[in-house]
Amino acid sequence: MALGIVTKRLGNKLFPALSSTSRLLHSHATSFGFKHVNEEEKARMVGDVFTSVAKNYDTMNDLMSAGLHRLWKERLVSMLNPFPGMKHLDVAGGTGDVAFRILDNINRVKQRGLQDGFNDALEAKTQIYVCDINPNMLNVGKQRAAEKGYGEDGSLVWVEGNAESLSFQDDSMDGYTIAFGIRNVTHIEKVLSEAHRVLKHGGRFLCLELSHVSLPIFKELYDLYSFSVIPRIGEMVAGDRESYQYLVESIRRFPPQEKFASMIADAGFQKVEYENLVGGVVAIHSGIKI
């Protein structure tokens, strides 16, 4: 997996590239893949997509990424470095993949015997909030949790909500993750500023998202795979070509790594970095709230 890490610093850009950023954001808010739509409609259309794919979501993920998505999520969670007693918010976490992995990680850490240092922290209960705008995705998640036995001690809380206006209090979360979700929101900057709001001092923001590939030959292969193979698989397995067409188009419309990193910095985060996985097919952006 190729690693490309760039550190961006927080800057009050006096002459920010506001014109280009706002144009980009406006175009994100009114784009549904390569189609142009009204802002108000975008959320509904995305909602329809996920309502329809919810049942097969995990299977399709496995097929499209050849199982790699599991490794990407593992990497996300290890970068997060969870600890017992943590309050974590996983946004657009619908089917619970990231949340389950965080819980696994915390339980492993507990077994390693960090208890002595954490006597007071263990009284603070680990709470992972899974927030998703789409109730169908949440239902799938709750089912999976019940099957696998996660969250029986109340450490998992399923919340239906909008990433652009979260119902959580300021400075209440130790960590915030959004995996494969930020591409689908209408207003990226609102999501980022909400993330900044709910995080505590020292809290971390992590975003795992499909991103842009720039390696020459690999890019062509990836484009070919995206536009030819994925919608076909969608058609055959989920019976829904349109949704998967939207998926691959929305990846192309999302800002590239550097641009997204600067947007994160604009929202107030520091030490904004990103790491490319698989040559840029996926990127993990991270930032700290200071």
Binding site: R9, L10, G11, N12, K13, L14, M79, L80, N81, F83, M86, L114, D116, G117, F118, A121, D174, G175, L199, K200, H201, G202, G203, R204, Q270, K271, S286, I288, I290
Partner: protein, 310 residues
Amino acid sequence: MYRTAAKRLLCSARQFNGNAALRFRRHNALITYSRFSTTEINQPFSNPHSIHDAIPISTTEIENPTLYDSTSSSTSSSSTTDEDSHRFESPKSKTKYEDEHARLLSASLVHVMKLGWTETALMAGAKDVGLSPSIVGSLSRKEAALVEFYMDDCLQRLIDKIDTDGSLKNLTPSDCISKLIRFRLEIQAPYISTWPQAPSTQAQPVNVPTSFKQRAMLVDEIWHAAGDNASDLDWYAKRTVLGGIYSTTEIYMLTDGSADFRDTWAFLDARVKDAFDLKKTIQEAQYLAEAVSTGLGNTFEEFVGKVFRR
């Protein structure tokens, strides 16, 4: 390498540049400030306990969000000067994450004695300074960062001692070296129970470049204080030998149960003496070799001459 031509101030500044992510802290309690001749904006927040006009260090006040000037700007790269300009333009500046990291690391040192050089200590430190323990995840090479921070702190204290202690000049090199190594090891004596973790963390391949550099600086400082001005091959030999003495003494100290580590200091003196004796021995061996080769050379010439004259 580090000290041959430069003055001490430049040297210190370069150290900061090398440890870009870490910041020096002078003695845990003091909060220092750096003032630059250029601008001082919004000083109402400032509470300088001591001002060092020469050494560019800065850390933030724990209570107030203070204005501070960028660190290591005297030998900084262009990226940090960009930040400077950003900061000067905005009336209220924000605390930078590196300072938060520095605060975190120094707060964590307190917990090391109980919890070892581990993530747990870091998280406990984070709670102390009011940061979410998540921030530990953003430190690259977590425990190693803590150890490196501590090593830098110790080195700084050693440098202070060298600066302030005038009696060192009157000692012979071997005594001076003994004294300095002893001082340096005494600094880390409080952590002796958890100490084995620290060098072993530093020995991990990922951490070796930084730890090697820190060790090199330490050895360099000591030799320089002992009055060494060589800049030839001898330079490397001296530092390697001193590095060896330091490491072995440190390891000896780990298993030393005598009061005040008396046995360790005896061991140290013996090693230093050995090293200097070795040096004399090598010199003498060199002279001997030269003499023999000259003699042999003469004999050979005569022999060849006789052969060809025939």
